[in-house]
Amino acid sequence: MEKYVYIALFAPLVGSLFAALFSQRPKALITGVVTSTLLFVSFVASVILLNHVSQVGAVHVTMMDWIQAGDMSIPFGFNIDQVTAVMMTVVTLVSTVVHVYSNGYMDHDKGFNRFFSYLSAFVFSMMVLVMSDNFLGLFIGWEGVGVCSWLLIGFWYHKADVTRDVNPSISPSWAANEAFIMNRVADLGMLVGIFLIYWNIGSLQYADVFAAVPSMDHGMLVTIGIFLFIGAMGKSAQFPLHTWLADAMEGPTPVSALIHAATMVTAGVYLVIRANPLYSAIPEVSYFIAVLGTFVAIFAASMALVNRDLKRIIAYSTLSQLGYMFAAAGLGAYWVALFHLAAHAFFKALLFLGAGNVMHAMDDELDIFKMGGLKKAMRWTYLYMGLASLALAGIWPLAGFFSKDTILEVAFNEHTYGIWLILWFTAGLTAFYSFRQVFLTFTGDERYKPLGFHPHEVPKYVLWAMSPLALLAVIFGWYKDEFVAFITHFLPTYEMSEHTEHFVVILTVVTTAIALSGIVFAWFRYSKGLKRSAKVEQSLPYRILSNQYYIPILYENVFSKPYAALSHAFWEEIDQQVVDATVDGIATAIKDGGDSSRKIQTGNLSDYLKLMSGGALVLVALVLFAAMQN
């Protein structure tokens, strides 16, 4: 089995390096083909491993030593257990689809080869993240995906910075930096968590760490849990580190699909799931995670309500869904979180890829107010996006229904009715904004026509490439029971209480009802075309939401600008005016001392004699002190 581990892991890397060889050449289709093929190979290996894990059990390999210093010993070790296998399969599957899709999507881009190199490198990092058997290995992947994300968000680095009014993300390179730096903030928390683990347990291997959890001081566990979760918050863009995700939509759409929807952003969820023995031991932290997740769910959904940017809406919905996952994980339903993670990966990637199709058709125009009626030109895309949106809204029998509904049940089951209520309400919002987007894009009047767009459907094979996702978005939920059976070999089972079982039908109905009502409301509001109301758009809530609660501006004014101002002050006021000036001041003082003491040297002999006599007088006058002492 070891070789499949390595194949699954390194195939993307090989692809990436292969593509890198061509990075400065003009577009070569071979890079796309080779990377996609290798990704497929990786996917196959992952599936084989998944099968193996389900049949035989976990696979563990140690490739080689990495860091060994003092008592710290960190190998490149890979552990393929149920969670990993699921993650690997999801990642490689979505990646393969996105790779194939990108062959079409990036067709005319100058950086075609470079793109595939980055994208495969990302998959490699993601595989390291999920496969590693220790926290530092996870951190490698963690940072690796961060860098790839940086590269890919900033893929069109040549675009100039513009103001926030023109583009809320300012520029791809700005967004890339924002993402990277914000992630770094969280990574610091993660590092601190890792240090805490090391110095308290003496090892970073998952096996050792989780074995030690029961015997550890509770306070310490809480601290570790908090810091690890800070890391997760960054990668999964949880409040208050969420702003980068929406800005990250500056990257090419396949990137958004793969990284900022399906895989990387779920790494935080993965971490919490992975560390479930730890979080199970600290319910207070877990509860906080759940509350935060819930908050992010509604918070992000609210921003999606009014947004006009096709991709940003999806990004907010991703954010919102991540909140759902954290809520589930925080409530102890780890497998539910993982299930939603996987389901979400499929339908959200599909949604993004659909958005990519639309962008392609609309010459990269993203404003849904400028679209409408695209369904004529883009029937399949409409179908895919509709499907994905239905799944997102949680409509039976699509995947989202099963996963999201379970989360709500969990919330109910835990007697955290507040969480349940909010999540339930958010489900309605989700349905509304998803379909607001779908309807504004695909139905109603063709607002793009006056603007001179000539939309067209994407090539066939691109549509084919998307089909696995579509399929999974539909059927994945049907395999819930198999999934549970498989995953609970590793993750703790989550049993609904009798009380909940009692209500489960009602809950399902209620949830479906609000989702449907959201869709219906969107239908009435938008399916006939765009009806803008200046009054609504001028209203305070609308403005708050469309400005993302003014949080980016707040961050700019509270962090970025003061940081820059403080930096300049440190440099100009302190470093130059105080520190360096002190040094130079000492030097100048010595030199001035020289200048003033050289005045002694008048050149006039008489002065010299006076000085000499004066010196002699001082010396001889010392006897007066001696005389006084006697």
Partner: protein, 508 residues
Amino acid sequence: MNDILSVLIFFPLIAGILGLVVSEKSIRTYGISVAAVEFILSLWMWFVYDPANAGMQFVKRIAVIPDFGISYYVGVDGISLFIVIMATLMTLIGIIALSVKKDLKNMILTLLFLEVAMVGVFVSLDAVIFYLFWEFSLVPMLYIIGAWGGEKRLYAAVKFFLYTFAGSLIMLVGMLYVAYVYQSVTGSWSFALTDWYSLVLPISVQKWLFWAFFLGFAIKVPMFPFHTWLPYAHGQAPTVGSVILAAVLLKMGTYGFVRFSLPMFPDASVMYITPVAILALIMIVYTAMVAYAQKDMKQVIAYSSVSHMGVIILGIFAMNAEGISGSVFFMLSHGIVSGALFLLVGVIYDRRHTKLMSEFGGLASVMPNYALIFGVMLMASVGLPLTMGFVGEYLSLAGFFKISPVMTAIGGTSIIFGAVYMLSLYKRSFFGPVTHEANKVLKDLDAKELTALIPLVAIVIWLGVYPKPVLQPIDNSVKALVSFMHEKAQTPEAKNTIVVSKRTKEAQ
């Protein structure tokens, strides 16, 4: 075999003197050959080095002034071995990448003399010989900065010289006092480090000696608030000067802490962890912010050096094998990475004769290879895992975490602030549209520059992925050092703080 170190020291010296007769026309080839031979010699030293032996190897001791206990005493252990190799490597790379036209011969010979001093510092086991090389290294550097530097080169060169010179004189007083104590205890003079190690100094003596040595090393590192010479030196120095300065000369200070302060004054070192760490934290945070405020690419990297050296200091004062090994490794990685970054800035400076970020923008479109290598080094600089920069930074911080989690968390902001200034530099220079006409026709890296840079990229990745060949010898020696310190420590506080690794205990 034991003479390998002497060969390493004196080969460039002799080559430098003989080089006077080589004609200006052929001097570059001469310089490259000599530096390459020196580098290969140092590699050979690594090859024959026994990694299992934590002690000094290739030891050679010849009495020079026996009455005063001064001897030519050299040797390497895991801590110094790789710094020596890095010094020879960076000299070679520096010479390969040389782009000066004026007085090329003087430059190359000066570099060879500088190499003598650099190798000498790291292999000396006698305090006076150490000091000799330490001080002598200032002279070639002064010349390099002053003769080939920018507009304010004289100011920068003199400031560099005087500042470090002043600090090291205080250190000299400290050294002489240690020798005196040794003499009064044993009755004979000795400046040999191995002899000094055996000296158990009273706490009160350790206290002031610690600060005397500290001043010498801190200025060299340079630690806040003694760092202001560095931006000038880097800002004005020619590329090769910056490369060597950042890669090797700064390491002398941190190396000094490991070689002198820790084993000689374990109690004082433990006692002063907090003030030193506070300075280190100021270095990390404050200089990182200052770096962000810079307009000049080179200044950013200069200040980033200071910031990173702060992490190294933290690691050294972690008082455990993780931290110290990590900081030694970080010295190497910082040497390679910042050296490479300075080379890269030099590349663009050669083309445009400016280093202001505002003059650039969109370089990634015009010079993709350049942008790629810069990006790799940038990522190494911000401590991306699987690059060389991560291992050292991680271990240093991990080590210091044992001392103070809160301080480590503050020091850890280095990874944030580092990303802030580095990415901002990269964005301002490489991203965005190409706005300046002059930038549109810039040539990408040529063969010479690639020859210099690709080995560095390879090393950065190789040692990021597989640091063991380097880290293990370092770790062995550091473990021995730590357990030695533990043995020697007198106060219970120090005994508790200096953590001997379990593996060392088991081995005992």
